[in-house]
C-alpha cells in the first residue's frame, strides 16, 4: 500500500473555507470509544469511509521500525471470518476502491463506494479491527513484497535515499528519524509475534476514528456504525511516552554520495508544530512563511531562484502544521546547469536571511492568503481529501475543529509575525544540511534477443 511520509506536501496546501458556507461536521462517540465524524457532500451518490488508527512509525521503537506499515499490509490478509484476499474481493464486487496508507503519526484504511454500499465497508473494517489473523505463511510472502516496495521507493531512488539519511541526521532522539517503511534489517527481523503484539496494542475502537464523507445522512451513519463497530470491545491502551527531540546545539552537515545524474540539496530547521507550540500563532506564521517562499509560481523561490537568478532548476519549501511531535521547516533544491551545490546553498541561506531581516511585502502576504481561501473551495471538490483532513487532525489529537480555524488563522497572520518566526527559528544552530553528490552510473550493457530463439520470453 501507500506510504505517506511527509504530510508536508499535503498539508501545506490543506486549508479550510472561510467565506463559503461551511458544511457541518457531525461528531459522535460510541460507548467503546470509537470516534465517528460525518460530513455531508451530496454532489454525487457516493461516499468515502476511512478508519484512522493512532499508530504509525513515530510510535515504533528501535528494532521494529516499519512494523506499523507491515501490519497495514497484513490487514488485507484475512480474519477469523474472511480468508486472505477476500476483503479486497468483496470491496471490488461492490464497485468499490480501497487502499491504505501509513505515516509517521497514523495508519489509515479507506474505501470509496456508491453510497448504498457503505455498510459493506463498515462490516469488513469492524471485523478486521479486532479479529485479524496473522498467518505465518502469508507474512513470509508479504515481507518480501514490503522489501520490494522498499527497493522501489528508496533503494533505487537517490533523492529518497538522501531523505532517509537526512531524517536520521536532523533528528537525534525523535522517532521521526526512522523511515516509515522501516530499516531493512528491522523489516527482515520482525516476527509474527511482534505483529500480533502490535496489532493487539493499537487496533481497538478507542484508538480509532471513523470518518465518512459523502451523500449520507449522519444519523443513519451513526446507526450503521453502532451496529458494526458497537459490539467491539475497547482495548487497554498504553500511555504514550513523550519522545520530544532534544535541543540541537550547532549546525549538522552530511554528504551523500550515490550513483545519480543530478546533485541535490536539502536543508531543515527545527521548528515547533501546532501541537505543543508555546504560542499558537507561531505555526501559522511559519505556514505563511513557507507560502511566501514556495506558494506557487509567484513565490520567491520560483521568481528569484529559478527564473530571476537562474541558480536553481527547482526549489521548494515545506512546513507541516500538524505532526504529533515537533518537526522541521524544510528547504530543498536542485542546482541549475552550471551552478554548484555551494552556490545554491548560499542562495537559499540568503533567502532565509532576507525573511529574517525584512518583513515580507503586503502583496506577497495577500497572495498567500488568496490562495488559501481558493484552495479551501477547490479541496471541497474531493470527498477523499475532506475526509483525510478530518481524520488526520483527530488522529494527532488536535481535533478536527482545527480545520475550521485554519483560514481565519492564516488571514490573521501579519508580516511582522512572519519575520518574528523566521528570526526565532531559522537559526544556523538548528539547521541540518545534506548534499547529494552524484557518483557516476556505469554505462549499461544493452543486449537484444530474438524471441524465436528461446521460444518464449524468459
Amino acid at each position: 500500500m501507500k506510504i505517506l511520509r511527509a504530510a508536508v506536501a499535503l498539508l501545506s496546501c490543506l486549508p479550510v473555507l472561510a467565506w463559503a458556507e461551511r458544511p457541518a461536521v457531525h461528531e459522535f462517540q460510541l460507548d467503546n470509544g470509537l470516534k465517528l465524524l460525518v460530513k455531508e457532500d451530496h454532489r454525487a451518490p457516493a461516499a468515502v469511509s476511512q478508519v484512522w488508527y493512532k499508530v504509525g512509525s513515530s510510535y515504533e521503537h528501535e528494532g521494529v521500525t516499519g512494523i506499523s506499515h507491515i501490519l497495514e499490509h497484513m490487514m488485507f490478509k484475512g480474519t477469523e471470518k474472511h480468508p486472505p484476499g477476500e476483503f479486497s474481493r468483496i470491496i471490488a464486487a461492490n464497485g468499490g476502491r480501497e487502499n491504505a496508507f501509513t505515516g509517521a503519526d497514523y495508519t489509515a484504511y479507506f474505501q470509496t463506494l456508491e453510497k448504498s454500499r457503505l455498510e459493506v465497508s463498515f462490516e469488513l473494517e469492524a471485523d478486521r479491527m479486532r479479529h485479524l489473523r496473522i498467518l505465518p505463511e502469508e507474512f513470509a510472502k508479504e515481507r518480501e513484497v514490503v522489501m520490494e516496495e522498499r527497493r522501489m521507493r528508496t533503494e533505487d531512488q537517490p533523492r529518497a535515499k538522501l531523505s532517509e539519511h537526512f531524517a536520521a541526521l536532523a533528528h537525534t532522539n525523535s522517532p521521526y528519524r526512522n523511515p516509515v517503511i522501516g530499516w531493512p534489517d528491522d523489516i527482515r527481523a520482525i516476527t509474527v509475534e511482534d505483529l500480533r503484539d502490535w496489532y493487539l496494542r493499537w487496533y481497538a475502537p478507542n484508538n480509532a476514528t471513523l470518518v465518512v464523507v459523502g451523500d449520507v445522512e449522519p444519523q443513519a451513519v451513526l446507526e450503521l456504525a453502532k451496529k458494526h463497530f458497537g459490539p467491539l470491545p475497547p482495548g487497554d491502551l498504553p500511555a504514550l511516552k513523550l519522545r520530544r527531540e532534544v535541543e540541537q546545539a550547532g549546525e549538522r552537515r552530511m554528504t551523500v554520495k550515490l550513483p545519480a545524474k543530478l546533485p541535490y540539496l536539502a536543508m531543515a530547521y527545527k521548528v515547533p508544530a501546532l501541537k505543543e507550540a508555546q504560542a499558537d500563532w507561531e505555526p501559522y506564521a511559519l505556514e505563511v512563511l513557507a507560502g511566501v517562499l514556495d506558494g506557487g509560481a509567484s513565490a520567491r523561490f520560483s521568481s528569484r531562484l529559478v527564473r530571476g537568478g537562474q541558480i536553481a532548476a527547482e526549489a521548494g519549501a515545506g512546513y507541516n502544521l500538524y505532526p504529533r511531535l515537533p518537526a522541521l521547516f524544510e528547504l530543498e533544491a536542485t542546482p541549475a546547469t552550471g551552478k554548484s551545490l555551494r552556490e545554491l546553498e548560499q542562495a537559499l541561506r540568503e533567502e532565509v536571511r532576507q525573511v529574517r531581516d525584512k518583513p515580507v511585502a503586503q502583496a506577497e502576504l495577500e497572495r498567500v492568503k488568496a490562495q488559501v481561501l481558493a484552495q479551501e473551495v477547490y479541496q471541497r471538490d474531493s470527498m477523499f481529501y475532506q475526509a483525510m483532513r478530518l481524520g488526520l487532525l483527530e488522529t494527532v489529537d488536535l481535533g478536527w475543529q482545527r480545520a475550521d480555524e485554519y483560514p481565519a488563522r492564516i488571514q490573521a497572520v501579519k508580516a511582522e509575525e512572519v519575520q518574528a518566526v523566521a528570526r526565532k527559528y531559522l537559526l544556523d544552530e538548528h539547521l541540518s544540511v545534506a548534499w547529494l553528490e552524484p557518483l557516476p552510473i556505469e554505462a549499461g550493457k544493452a543486449v537484444i534477443e530474438s524471441i524465436q530463439e528461446t521460444g518464449h520470453v524468459r
Binding site: P45, R89, G95, E144, E155, A260, S298, R307, A374, K445
Partner: protein, 438 residues
C-alpha cells in the same frame, strides 16, 4: 492528463447500483473562433474548471523531438504585456491555478478558478494571454530548455524511466510515438526559439482546439467565457491524422544493465486506438487479467501467491493511433527471470481460456458498481469530458458505457484476446542489475 493509465480511468465508468445509467449532461457548441466547446454545469461549489486541449503532443514533433513539450512549458513564462512574474502574481492573487503539459497525442492548458466575477475576470484574461499571446522570450526559452535538458538527464538515474523510453522505442520504431514526449537530450539541445514559435503558430489554433468547461455557471455565461478565453486565437486548421502505428514485427527481448536493486520489466505491443470495436471486451478482459488492483490474475500470481513484486499489472492505453497493451512489474534482480515467466504464463493461460464465468461477473460488478466514483468531482468530470471530446467519442459515451460492459461475454473476451494479443510478437524490456543474492 492523458496519462499512462487512461484505460484504468475509463474503466470505472458504468452505472451505479440503483440502475441509473446517466453521466453528466454535456452541452456542446462551436465557439466564434471555430473551436469545439463542451460544457457541463456543475452546481454546488463556486468554481470553474477550464481545459483547452490541442492536437499538439509530441507526435507532432517531426524530427524536433521535444518541441511540443517545450512549447507547452513556455506558455506561462511570459505572454501579452506580462512576464512570468506578472502572470503568476495575477493568477495567484485571485487564487487561480494554471496547469498544462504535453503527452504524445495532445498538449493542454487547465485553469481552475473561483467564479466570483472579479476573480474570474482576472483569471480568464490572464489565461487567454497565455494561450494566444505567449512571448517565448529568448531568456525564458533558454532557461526552460536547460531545465528540460536537466530533467532528461535525471531520467537517466531511474531504471523505470530508462525502461519506459526503451519500451516505446521498441514498440513504435519509426512512428512518432517512439520518442519520449519530453524529447531526447540531443534533439532538445538543437531546438531554437523559432522552432517553438513555429510550433505554436501551427498547432495552437482554434480549429485544432477543444475547450471543456465544468463549473457553477449558466450555459449563457459559459458561452461568454469560451469566447473570451479563445479571443484572438487564429482559426488555423486541425492537425493532420497521425500515421497508423506499426504492426507487430518479431518479438524481441531488450536487456540493459543498470546498477539498481530492482529489475524493471515492461512487455507488450501496440494494440488499441480509441473508437475500436473490440474496446469493451479488451477492456473488461484486461480488468480481470491485470487491471483491477489486488484482485487481478497478474497481481494474484506475482504478488499474492509469490511475493515477487510490490506492483504488477497490465493495461491498455488507447491513443489516437494504436496505443500499447503493456504488462509490467519490478522485482529484485535475482528473481526477474521467474517474475517474467509468471507474467507470461498468466497471459498465455488467459489468452487460451479466457476468464471464468465468476471472474467475468465480478469484473462487471466492479466496473459498473463503481461508475459514480469516476465522476464524483468537477475535476474528474472535466478530465473525462476532455477525453471524450478529444478522441471523438460519442457524447452519450458515459450513458451507454455500462450497457456495453454488461454485454461482454466470455467468448468475446477470448476471441478478441486471441485475435489482438500476440505474445510471440511482444517487445520485452528488462532493465536492472546483475542477478546476485540479495
Amino acid at each position: 492528463m492523458y496519462a499512462k493509465r487512461w484505460i484504468v480511468a475509463i474503466g470505472l465508468f458504468a452505472f451505479w447500483a440503483c440502475g441509473v445509467q446517466a453521466g453528466p449532461v454535456i452541452e456542446q457548441w462551436t465557439a466564434p473562433q471555430g473551436s469545439r466547446v463542451l460544457f457541463v454545469k456543475a452546481p454546488g461549489l463556486p468554481l470553474l474548471d477550464a481545459r483547452v486541449v490541442f492536437a499538439a503532443g509530441s507526435a507532432r514533433d517531426g524530427e524536433q523531438y521535444g518541441v511540443a513539450a517545450l512549447t507547452a512549458s513556455l506558455l506561462d513564462a511570459g505572454a501579452g504585456e506580462w512576464d512570468a512574474d506578472a502572470i503568476a502574481q495575477r493568477l495567484e492573487g485571485v487564487g487561480a491555478a494554471l496547469g498544462g503539459g504535453a503527452s504524445r497525442d495532445s498538449a493542454w492548458l487547465s485553469l481552475r478558478t473561483l467564479t466570483e466575477p472579479d476573480k474570474l475576470a482576472v483569471a480568464l484574461e490572464t489565461a487567454r494571454a497565455v494561450l494566444v499571446q505567449p512571448r517565448f522570450s529568448p531568456k525564458d526559452f533558454q532557461r526552460e530548455k536547460q531545465r528540460t535538458l536537466q530533467a532528461l538527464k535525471q531520467e537517466e538515474e531511474s531504471p523505470a524511466d530508462i525502461a519506459e523510453n526503451m519500451y516505446y522505442e521498441a514498440l513504435y520504431g519509426a512512428h512518432p510515438y517512439a520518442h519520449p514526449a519530453s524529447g531526447k537530450p540531443e534533439t532538445v539541445a538543437r531546438l531554437k526559439r523559432e522552432d517553438v514559435k513555429r510550433f505554436h503558430r501551427r498547432y495552437y489554433v482554434a480549429k485544432n482546439a477543444l475547450l471543456v468547461l465544468v463549473g457553477d455557471v449558466s450555459r449563457e455565461k459559459a458561452a461568454e467565457i469560451a469566447a473570451a478565453l479563445l479571443h484572438g486565437m487564429p482559426e488555423g486548421a486541425a492537425a493532420e491524422a497521425l500515421p497508423p502505428a506499426p504492426d507487430n514485427g518479431a518479438g524481441t527481448v531488450l536487456r540493459k544493465t543498470f546498477p539498481s536493486a530492482q529489475t524493471h520489466v515492461l512487455s507488450g505491443a501496440p494494440v488499441l486506438p480509441f473508437n475500436d470495436p473490440d474496446y469493451f471486451p479488451l477492456y473488461v478482459g484486461n480488468h480481470i487479467l491485470g487491471g483491477s488492483g489486488l484482485v487481478s490474475r497478474i497481481i494474484d500470481e506475482v504478488r499474492e501467491k509469490r511475493g515477487l513484486s510490490y506492483s504488477a499489472y497490465s493495461y491498455f492505453q488507447p491513443q489516437a493511433a494504436r496505443g500499447p497493451f503493456t504488462m509490467g512489474l519490478q522485482t529484485r534482480n535475482n528473481q526477474a527471470e521467474e517474475a517474467v515467466r509468471v507474467l507470461n504464463e498468466t497471459l498465455r493461460a488467459f489468452i487460451a481460456d479466457g476468464p471464468t464465468e465468476e471472474e467475468l461477473a465480478a469484473a462487471k460488478k466492479n466496473i459498473t458498481g463503481g461508475f459514480v466514483l469516476r465522476i464524483d468531482s468537477n475535476q474528474k468530470i472535466a478530465e473525462t469530458v476532455a477525453m471524450i471530446g478529444f478522441y471523438g467519442l460519442a457524447l452519450d459515451y458515459l450513458d451507454t458505457f455500462s450497457a456495453r460492459v454488461e454485454a461482454v461475454n466470455r467468448d468475446d473476451i477470448r476471441r478478441v484476446f486471441q485475435a489482438r494479443i500476440r505474445p510471440e510478437a511482444f517487445k520485452t524490456v528488462v532493465v536492472g542489475g546483475e542477478a546476485k543474492t540479495d
